[in-house]
């Protein structure tokens, strides 16, 4: 049939994607090119005198290196939390229970809350004086300190931010896994049961293999999101105590808007994007292969 298509038919599609492409170029490609150029421009310079000085500085910057480590830990632990909580809830919400739809909607609520709001909610929740968490814990453990510090504790600030981020972000993974669970044929479970497989074996040999692709996609997408997480960290701790909760996006923001070193911040942003691209490759390859 292809031979019968006119030039008009073959090229009409390009016309349809043109508005989206122009929009993408305006909001993504143009700023990316500007950032790239800025990253190779001397500080306060302009024109086309280019330099790699900011990249050389970045590769030796102990603050940036520490922040990369913080970010990897933040992303890895958030992903683990999202996966465990998302999978657990997806399994629970896949059961035929009364009020199933209500509980599914309830579990989605954190996903609807903007990062800034979630950050402020947790900041107040964890406040040692006015916060709700300490009194709640004291209801169960009356000897728990009334003014226990969460975000001001060097040991607990980072875990607190990660817990908040797990709460805010698990629904994405949950929804994807729930869709995957619903697509696994019931017959497979019935056949496994007939063969004498218990729920652990059914989970390991039916559920997990059935979800493998979706898990990979969900975690790859989630990783990209978490790598860029900004407002939640900024509103909860601002990167503190000291720099213990500093992540790449908050450092880039600080370097650009507070230190006014646009060029160095751009180099950081480009490095961050490069790492993110490498980490996203499995997902990109997977999507390409599926097509």
């Amino acid at each position: 049939m292809r031979a019968g298509r006119t030039w008009h038919d073959r090229h009409l599609g390009y016309l349809f994607v043109l508005p989206a492409s122009l929009m993408l170029a305006a909001v993504l490609i143009f700023p990316a090119v500007i950032t790239l150029k800025l990253s190779v421009t001397p500080e306060g310079g302009s024109g086309w005198h280019l330099t790699l000085i900011h990249y050389r500085k970045a590769l030796r910057d102990p603050v940036l290196i520490q922040t990369f480590k913080n970010t990897f830990a933040f992303v890895a632990l958030s992903l683990l939390g999202h996966f465990l909580l998302g999978l657990g809830l997806a399994l629970a919400l896949n059961q035929a229970l009364p009020g199933q739809t209500f509980f599914r909607l309830l579990a989605l609520i954190p996903w609807t809350i903007p990062d800034v709001v979630a950050g402020i909610i947790f900041r107040w929740l964890l406040n040692p004086i006015h916060g709700a968490l300490n009194p709640l814990i004291r209801l169960v453990f009356p000897r728990f300190p009334a003014e226990f510090q969460w975000l001001s504790s060097p040991a607990l600030a980072f875990p607190s931010v990660i817990v908040a981020n797990i709460w805010r972000g698990y629904p994405l993974v949950m929804v994807m896994l729930l869709a995957g669970l619903m697509a696994i044929p019931r017959e497979l479970y019935e056949a496994a049961a007939v063969d004498g497989a218990g729920w652990v074996k059914r989970f390991l040999h039916v559920t997990l293999p059935g979800l493998r692709t979706i898990i990979l996609v969900a975690l790859a997408l989630d990783m990209v999101w978490e790598f860029r997480r900004f407002a939640l960290v900024l509103t909860m701790t601002g990167g503190g105590p000291g720099t213990l909760t500093e992540v790449l996006s908050t450092l880039v923001y600080k370097t650009y808007f507070q230190f006014f070193t646009f060029e160095y911040a751009s180099a950081m942003a480009i490095l961050m994007s490069a790492v993110l691209f490498v980490l996203s490759l499995p997902y990109i390859l997977l999507v390409g292969r599926e097509r």
Partner: protein, 428 residues
């Protein structure tokens, strides 16, 4: 059949008349909109002063309309930077003195020198505090006029003083007294003093009197190196962080406390003393309307260490280099800085203008709070105006948080700030 066309014709004539009227009248009502950007639009009592200014100006100037443009204190520089990069900044914007030279260097600010010359040049400028005006000058041009310049003082709850057996008429004058009072004022559910530890520029104003008061400083006199490795700097730094870590006279969660949180603690009687600025009584009153602030709260100079010194809240307004209506923007700007407007700011928000005729007016001199603030003006010191200040300030914020939370000892935390400051200054 003959149709009666009279009503139709009348309608057409009436419509034409209306269109003509609109066309003729349109230029008369066309207004230049001037975006007036500040975070104070969201703060009581400031917003009352701003609304009054907007109403008065708009009524007196039919061709120009001042419009509200909200910023947030925490990211006002980020917003202005982004807007300036896009050449779409607010016509008039509000900052502390710290970023002015950065913005001027980047070409974001309109040079006000020609407007000032038209107003009378040196005679016009003589209306302002000369030292405050210096901050606005950069490379031979004037980029702003100083607005409110307010020394910081100690604000304390006299009722708490009486409860603790302290004489409200004798506030702490020295560091030793301050610590002693703070300990006596600390009791179940209440703390002697509220200090800031959050990552915000308001920390500097409340921390600097201790650093400088001990004889320490950020930089050497030639501003080429860090001076944070001196014994005096460590003494001031330790005094500040040990109020929390050692003496326990500060509420928990100190690194989560910014200026507004600490004022809230004072308003709700969680703390008894804070270091604060002239707008604080009004803000505290707004937070807790049930408290009779002018009865309960008293002011005193910041307790003295080795040196009598205080910091200041010093804000300025600028006109964007990208304004499409510089003449109209100047008209609004000039109106904001006139005597009546600045006096209104004092009456509503309690702030002290840099205008000498306002600061020295009988109304200001007679006010019990303004008297205390004014008396501290000779002891005001500002942070170094070096381009590296944002990095130096960030290093100090990091050190303060590390010291307050025990991530590092005060010595190690300050050493970290010292090294970061030298790195920022390019010292090898």
């Amino acid at each position: 059949m003959k149709r009666n066309t009279k009503p139709l014709a009348s309608l057409a004539v009436a419509a034409a008349a209306v269109i003509l009227l609109v066309l003729v009248a349109a230029p008369a009502v066309a207004q230049v909109k001037i975006r007036f950007q500040t975070w104070h639009w969201n703060e009581t009592p400031w917003v009352n002063s701003l609304n009054e200014f907007m109403k008065t100006f708009n009524a007196a100037n039919p061709g120009i309309e001042v419009v509200r443009d909200d910023s947030r204190y925490g990211d006002k520089e980020a917003v202005f930077t982004t807007q300036s990069q896009a050449k779409a900044a607010a016509d008039i914007a509000h900052f502390s003195y710290r970023p002015i030279r950065h913005f001027a260097e980047r070409g974001y600010l309109l040079d006000l020198t020609p407007f000032i010359e038209k107003e009378g040049g040196a005679k016009y400028l003589a209306q302002w505090d000369a030292s405050a005006l210096e901050i606005c000058k950069y490379k031979g041009k004037i980029y702003c006029l100083p607005d409110d310049l307010n020394p910081l003082v100690l604000m304390y709850n006299t009722v708490h003083f009486k409860e603790a057996g302290l004489d409200p008429a004798k506030p702490p004058a020295t560091w030793a007294e301050f610590l002693d009072y703070a300990k006596k004022l600390t009791r179940a559910g209440r703390y002697g003093v509220g200090i800031l530890g959050a990552r915000q520029e308001g920390v500097f104003m409340r921390f600097n009197p201790w650093l400088w008061g001990a004889g320490g400083d950020y930089l050497t006199p030639d501003e080429k190196r860090s001076a944070l490795d001196t014994r005096e700097a460590l003494e001031g730094f330790k005094f500040y962080v040990e109020l929390f870590t050692k003496h326990k006279v500060v509420p928990p969660g100190v690194i989560e406390q910014g200026a507004q949180e600490v004022r809230t603690q004072l308003a709700h009687e969680k703390v008894s003393m804070i270091i604060t600025l002239p707008a604080a009584p009004g803000i505290v009153q707004a937070i807790n309307p049930k408290m009779n602030v002018r009865e309960v709260m008293a002011l005193a100079p910041v307790p003295v260490g080795k040196k009598k010194v205080t910091s200041a809240w010093f804000s300025l307004r600028v006109i964007s280099a990208f304004t499409k209506n510089p003449e109209a923007a100047w008209k609004v700007y000039n109106a904001w800085y006139d005597r009546d407007s600045q006096m209104r700011n004092f009456k509503i928000a309690g702030v002290l203008s840099s205008r000498l005729d306002v600061r020295n007016s009988p109304e200001v001199k007679a006010d019990k709070y303004a008297q205390v603030f004014s008396a501290q003006t000779p002891y005001v010191k500002l942070e170094p105006l070096v381009p590296e200040w944002p990095k130096i300030g960030d290093a100090m914020l990091t050190a303060i948080q590390e010291g307050l939370t025990g991530v590092k000892t005060p010595e190690a935390a300050l050493r970290g700030a010292h090294e970061a400051t030298n790195r920022a200054l390019g010292v090898r």
